[in-house]
């Protein structure tokens, strides 16, 4: 597999190299094109920071980040992002929120008006795949938390990014909604074949979704374990009760325990 995302001994400190403890220290990882990777680790260990390095939002002190063969030196336009809070704009309808990236992105803003009908059709069909058909013209406050998160996923994907960065996107949802959205995300990924880095605290979520799980140490964040998840796809809620799945979750649980104790 050709590497798509590569971190090579990356160290990053907020406020510059001399500003104290790094948030990420000497981290290396390699992610193939189309791979689904999860990152887990204790709170404050630098997982979100890792995503900021990959997306080019934060420069590194040392080491290099490469995406698609190129060294990252500024914000990458080929990424889509979603977070724990959906951050939808309350004055825009669901559809208009999903269209926002196309209106402002460097690649699309000039042709946006001309291609509006085409973009709208794309947004509607994306909303349909996540089960939001019928809610296109609703305001965000009329959607439940889970529905807002679905819309936020659509907004992250509307410009067909090659790389999707997810920072605890389901953390604020109830268990049932969360597990439902695992399925939604898995379907989207299987259909569109983008590369995903998912940061999560939920080990079952990591095992359900990922091809590979990285465990990050306490601050400063280093990558201390890497665990492949050789379970067949598509995974279902049934799979989460199978012995292989449960064993993997336990194994990760132990790693996290060690990391926290260290």
């Amino acid at each position: 597999m050709t590497p798509f995302v590569e971190l090579d001994r990356v160290t990053m400190t907020y406020g510059g190299p001399d500003a104290g403890t790094p948030a990420v220290a000497d981290a290396s990882l390699t992610i193939g094109r189309g791979e689904f990777v999860a990152v887990v680790g204790p709170s404050g260990c630098g997982k979100s920071s890792l995503l900021k390095i990959v997306s080019g939002l934060m420069p590194t002190d040392s080491g290099t980040a490469r995406v698609d063969g190129e060294t990252v030196s500024g914000p990458l336009t080929m990424v889509g992002m979603a977070f724990q809070n959906a951050t939808l704009l309350p004055w825009r309808t669901t559809l208009e929120n999903v269209l926002l990236p196309l209106e402002v992105s460097r690649a699309h803003r000039r042709s946006f008006r001309r291609k509006r009908a085409e973009h709208e059709a794309a947004a509607r069909s994306l909303l349909k795949t996540v089960g939001l058909d019928g809610y296109e013209d609703h305001a965000p406050h009329e959607l439940s938390g889970g529905m807002q998160q679905r819309a936020s996923l659509c907004r992250a994907l509307i410009h067909s990014p090659d790389l999707l960065l997810l920072d605890e996107p389901f953390a604020a949802l109830d268990a049932f909604t969360r597990e439902e959205l695992w399925g939604v995300l898995q379907d989207l990924w299987r259909e569109r074949q983008f590369t995903v880095i998912l940061v999560t605290h939920d080990l079952r979520e990591a095992v359900y979704l990922a091809d590979r799980v990285y465990v990050v140490s306490k601050r400063p964040g280093r990558i201390v374990y890497e665990r492949p998840v050789p379970l067949p796809r598509p995974r279902t809620l049934e799979s989460t009760f199978e012995q292989d799945f449960v064993d993997l979750v336990h194994r990760l649980r132990d790693h996290i325990g060690e990391v926290r104790a260290a």
């Binding site: 900021k52 997306s55 080019g56 939002l57 914000p75 990458l76 336009t77 990424v79 992002m81 977070f83 809070n85 951050t87 704009l89 309350p90 004055w91 926002l100 990236p101 209106e103 402002v104 992105s105 460097r106 690649a107 803003r109 305001a139 406050h141 907004r155 992250a156 410009h159 920072d167």
Partner: protein, 253 residues
Amino acid sequence: MTTRLKLAPWIATIGLFVFWELVCRLFSIPEFVLPAPSQAMAALIEFWPAIWQNAFYTFWVTMVGFAMAVVFGLVLGLVTGASALVYSAIYPLLVGFNSIPKVAIVPVLVVWFGIGTIPAVLTAFTISFFPIVVNVATGLATLEPELRDVLRSLGARKVDILLKVGLPRSMPYFFASLKVAITLAFVGTVISETVAGNAGMGHLMLSASSSFRVPLVFAGLLVIAVMGVGMYAIFALAERRFVGWAFRGADAA
């Protein structure tokens, strides 16, 4: 429940006037100290033509000053909210200027422009633009870090972020500030008319009090208060109309 909420302000207002009337009658307070509401109303009717004329004048002066404050406040708020440099450069100046009692600058305005309408317009303007600037700037500057990251990684231009996210987000702050600014604008106009005017409610009340027509002074105060409440209500309606989305979440909760 909602009818009780709607009735409450009327009951409170009527209650206040009844209380005021009773106190004046019970303690036989002389009308040149504190006229009862009924005496103020009598003066209002007796001097209605003069009051109407001056109130109309004060209203227009206030509206012109306020309109200038809206335009200037919006522009300055957008500039300060959009640029951290401009913000840090002029914010202390704005706070300093806002701390100056506006009554102190009326004489200066009179030296520059002479007695009359212009100082009144400018006083209404200077007293009311500050809350607009501060609110618009604050609204613009509050962008969630996650959303900022999303927009940056899309390569969004500053002007797009400003127009599509910052400006709409600052509109609830803007409308909230209009309600405050309009009442301040009335204060500014009346101050100027009182200190150096030859027309308007401030001038009328000053002449009335110098001839001990205290009920007329109170009639004037009531008229100003009514104009203030009326304009406040209009802008509160406009707020609901234009930035209703900012309230919807709260209604549902």
